[in-house]
């Protein structure tokens, strides 16, 4: 089990002042696994995903990526070499065109020649259906388009792991599907996906495993089938009864 775990999280704790946000989280994620993290707001799911790439520093506990511990010293390199993140608020660089948003990291960090980076960026834009927007600036795109660009920007550095932090929560309802479609397409590849979301349909469709967080702890874990149809904990049952119609 441990040998093919791309991410290993051991005894992870995080507190903000007096507030315990994550309490003794232990989690192994397999290479290529599609993991969906569910839970009510304030349960710590965003913090968990942000701890994986050290945007949030764990209070205690260890995180290993491909067997190497993520530390205060190496976390930038670990992010660069293994991970990419898609944010709720897209966080595209507004002073750069869509194409430049995609080529910045490859050119500056991975020393890819500019022409090559642009060609590769265009391929990814093609995949998210936005090649025609290459020269546009982010603020002239709709929310859904911006998030698709953000996904393309995440993919262009060929990460092993892609983290989604509520990627559709800031979108108008009619734009949610265009983003989910891109994510479903992506889930067919062998990339490891970890996704914090409230989109149950998406979770059911792509997740290999679902975990349910409540009050800083993992209270439920299993395949989407198990978790949705036969949740073990009362908390999970109550949650689903509220959000599934």
């Amino acid at each position: 089990m441990e040998s093919n775990a791309i991410i290993r999280i051991e005894h992870l704790r995080k507190r903000f002042g007096d507030l315990q946000v994550l309490d003794n989280i232990n989690l192994n994620i397999k290479k290529g696994e599609k993991l969906v993290i569910l839970g009510p707001s304030g349960s710590g799911k965003s913090t968990l995903i942000r701890c994986i790439n050290h945007l949030e520093k764990p209070t205690s506990g260890e995180i290993y990526i491909e067997g190497e511990q993520v530390t205060q010293k190496n976390w930038i390199r670990m992010s660069r070499d293994h991970m990419a993140m898609v944010f709720q608020q897209f966080n595209l660089y507004p002073h750069k065109t869509v194409l430049q948003n995609l080529t910045m990291a490859p050119v500056k960090l991975h020393k890819v020649p500019k022409k090559e980076a642009e060609a590769s960026a265009m391929e990814y834009l093609e995949r998210v259906g936005l090649a025609n927007k290459a020269d546009a600036y982010p603020q002239n795109l709709s929310g859904g388009q911006q998030q698709r660009v953000a996904i393309a920007r995440a993919l262009v550095t060929h990460p092993d792991i892609i983290l989604f932090d509520e990627p559709t929560s800031a979108l108008d309802p009619e734009m949610v599907n265009e983003v989910l479609d891109v994510m479903v397409q992506l889930s067919k590849e062998d990339i490891t996906m970890i996704c914090v979301t409230h989109e149950m349909g998406f979770a059911r469709q792509v997740a290999d495993r679902v975990i349910f967080l409540d009050s800083a702890k993992i209270v439920e874990e299993g395949t989407p089938e198990e978790v949705f149809t036969n949740p073990k904990s009362e908390r999970t049952k109550a949650f689903f009864s509220k959000i599934l119609h």
């Binding site: 790439n53 993140m85 603020q139």
Partner: protein, 247 residues
């Protein structure tokens, strides 16, 4: 009153001192340029420090900024004129007080004062960039410094250009405080001329000269303000259509 103001003789007499005014104007511009450089260095340094986590450095920068913003620049000039030489004398056990040159007093006087304001301009500019921008850069594997250089500062620059230019304008006008302490600037020569002739015209000439450099700066502030509000896409399209018009 109006009669004496329009009196050609008075104007003629006042303009006889114009070579002095020009010399003072030269000094004013040199002090402005060198003082601006000092103010920018201090402002960038303290502005960056103010956005960092280090508490001790942050405190130093807060104290500096509050001190220089909340005491009159005139007193600061006198401090450089009287206090600093005395301190240097004490420090190095010199028998005679070391006199700083008037130019040096001038550039440090305006430089240190406006450095405090520019630090605040730069701090607020950096803080105005949403936190998600830095996080996006870090998540891509950029270091803190790279995130600053490639992502935060380019966005900051556009926002801070208007207030930065306003500060330059204020710095230029504040060099006139030099006249009260060490002199040799435009205001000093105007004051000298008016003291001698008793004709108010001298001040008007000086005012016109200050206006001649300050007004374009004020216009520049407007241009930068418009530029900061503008959508980059529109700018690009405009450029393209202009190019098309030439063909």
């Amino acid at each position: 009153m109006l009669e004496s103001l329009l009196d050609p003789w008075r104007w003629e007499r006042s303009l006889q001192d114009f070579p002095d005014y020009l010399e003072g104007f030269g000094m004013t511009l040199r002090v402005t340029a060198a003082g601006w450089l000092i103010a920018m260095c201090i402002g960038i340094l303290l502005g960056l420090i103010s956005t960092k986590q280090n508490k001790a450095l942050k405190a130093v920068s807060r104290i500096y900024i509050q001190f220089f913003q909340n005491t009159p620049i005139t007193i600061q000039f006198f401090f450089f004129y009287v206090g600093v030489p005395a301190i240097i004398k004490q420090l190095f056990h010199m028998s005679k007080a070391y006199r700083l040159s008037k130019f040096v007093i001038g550039i440090f006087g305006v430089g240190l004062y406006h450095g405090a304001y520019i630090a605040e301009v730069i701090r607020s500019g950096i803080e105005a960039v949403p936190g998600g921008q830095k996080e996006a850069a870090l998540s891509q594997g950029f270091t803190e410094n790279q995130a600053m250089a490639y992502v935060i500062l380019p966005q900051t620059l556009k926002m801070i250009l208007p207030p930065l230019t306003s500060q330059t304008l204020a710095l230029l006008k504040n060099t006139s405080t030099l006249a009260m302490v060490v002199g040799l600037d435009l205001m000093y020569y105007a004051d000298k001329s008016v003291g001698y002739t008793g004709y108010f015209q001298g001040y008007l000439i000086a005012a016109a000269m200050y206006f001649a450099v300050c007004f374009p700066l004020a216009m520049l502030v407007k241009v930068f303000e418009r530029n900061a509000a503008r959508n980059p896409e529109l700018k690009r399209k405009k450029k393209k259509s202009r190019g098309g018009g030439l063909i």
